[in-house]
Symmetry: C2
């Protein structure tokens, strides 16, 4: 009973603070959230909550604001799921279904997510290693430089320039193309290594050296260190949250421009079916210590094709943001998993 109400108080504090961005006091809580007790009682609870580290006061004679720990408890135990409005669902659907190719899907999703959450949105392009090969094309640029073009079932087109040690002629290139396609078409890139492992042994001797070179390059470029890509939108929303500027905003913007940071971030949280929330200090990146990240994976079947999420102030509408992230992930997953 007493435990129960204390949590109610915490929930009320979080909700109120998210709304107003001002430290919230006992009087306001008692009258606006039907707690059924007097301000004095609320004060006692608040005192206890502060003792336990869930809330803090910026200075004496001010109300309380949630700590990271407080937000964490709120997210884990206190917040219900806030379903999206019908209008929102409709907006998502109509906004995404006009997309014509992969680039378009990603660009639309990231803008959509930024708009829905009014925060910074991040969408990762489908990882190559989770995709299947639809076609491999080899184009001769010069006799010793080939352009490898890989087309995946997610519609992603990836190209690499390959320098080869000795010149090849067109018939050989054509033969290489046939052999590679036969071995890889329809297979997932993650399975590619074993699929091509003994290709050279089966090929005619004259082809082997080239095949070996190409296979090495393909493996290295597309499987071992695939180029992950990221789309970003809504950085203008950072100015909204009145984060204190010079100190926080700059490093944050710098971090967001750093693909590596974002990839690491998304990589850690791209589970399907789970929306991960990282609050403040829980982020491993310094520049994100004063922000929260809400992210999840998208895709169909077992493993995630990629991840997406938003970055915003800790003072964030977690239920709403989580709902939006989840919904967009579902739509994007369906869209890219199906086609």
């Amino acid at each position: 009973m007493l435990e129960e109400r204390r949590l109610d108080v915490l929930r009320a504090i979080v909700e109120e603070f998210v709304l107003s961005n001002e430290p919230v006091g006992s009087k306001l809580l008692a009258e606006r959230h039907q707690l059924g007790v007097s301000p004095a009682t609320v004060r006692n609870d608040m005192s206890a909550l502060e003792e336990e580290g869930y809330i803090t006061q910026p200075h004496t004679s001010a109300g309380r604001i949630p700590t990271d720990k407080g937000y964490r408890l709120f997210v884990d135990r206190l917040s219900g799921v806030k379903p999206l409005s019908r209008a929102e669902r409709r907006a998502i659907q109509s906004f995404l279904e006009g997309a014509i190719d992969l680039d378009d899907v990603v660009r639309r999703s990231v803008r959509l997510l930024a708009q829905l959450t009014r925060q910074v949105a991040v969408v990762q392009y489908p990882s190559l290693s989770c995709s299947s090969v639809r076609h491999i094309e080899i184009v001769t640029i010069t006799p010793v430089r080939l352009l490898l073009v890989l087309i995946t079932d997610t519609g992603r087109v990836e190209q690499r320039v390959v320098e080869i040690p000795e010149p090849v002629d067109d018939p050989t290139v054509s033969e290489l193309r046939t052999v590679l396609n036969a071995a890889l078409n329809g297979r997932r890139l993650a399975d590619a290594p074993e699929a091509v492992a003994n290709l050279p042994d089966e090929a005619r001797p004259g082809l082997r050296p080239h095949l070996n070179t190409l296979i090495t390059v393909v493996m290295e470029a597309l499987v071992d260190k695939p180029e992950e890509r990221i789309a970003l939108a809504g950085t203008a929303n950072l100015t909204r949250s009145a984060i204190d500027f010079a100190d926080t905003l700059r490093p944050l913007l710098e971090a967001l421009e750093e693909q590596v940071v974002l990839l690491k971030l998304i990589g850690e949280v791209r589970d399907l079916d789970t929306v991960t929330v990282r609050i403040g200090h829980e982020n491993n990146v310094d520049a994100l210590r004063s922000t929260s990240v809400v992210a999840t994976g998208y895709g169909r079947g077992a493993s995630a094709l990629g991840g997406l999420g938003v970055v915003g102030p800790r003072r964030m509408d977690y239920p709403g943001t989580m709902a939006a992230v989840q919904a967009v992930a579902k739509y994007v997953g369906d869209l890219l998993g199906a086609d």
Copy 2:
């Protein structure tokens, strides 16, 4: 003589203000810049300059700051060329020459430019219409869906999915590929329309409908409305210039996310050999009214392949920025024009 000194005063004001970001007064000017006259004389000149609209004072009892008109005069007549330091030239060279493909070149240039100028940098990918065709590839996805891949001499790879009205088989696709390549290889995309104009007439009858469809699509997608791309870097630098935040920064960030705006901007100023400067109100975009844009075109030969530049506060080191923009444009032009 008197005219002469007045301009010296304006130059001094601009330089001082760019450095300090504070309104500059007559005393400071007289003692720091060897004008050879007393503060009182400087005051007279300042009064005249204000009369003519080159400078203004934010409030009585404050120093003067340049107006847009003042900056304009400074850029046009007062600023010498500030050559880059040897170290900077070396940095540019070593930073860019490691690039492996087009994407890499563009990404590196934009970061380099942002770093050199400490401002927001924008680099446009080479326009398709200015590039020549190196190779066209057609890949069958389904019998009625083809993937067109266009490779240009600048290393850009562009792809489009094409829906065709009736199924084609592989030999036909192969034939189409041969015909298209024969007609277009080595030609500039801008010249493509005439190059393919009477291809259908010369082809064997069975090929004509497909050829017509493909030509239409190629023309539409790659020539009429080519997808221009833009790379952006250094948005974090916006926080540096103490632009007043909530009011200016948000619309600015929003504008920068809008590719259309940037493309329009760059498109207007991509002359080769001329670094264009747009100061404050000279920009046609509202969000850029309180910023300056320094940009130019890059490329080899007559027409520009693309444009690049920076966006920063009006209070900007114009000579230095112009030098950096020019230098990077030259290197990028050489890099992309040569290969």
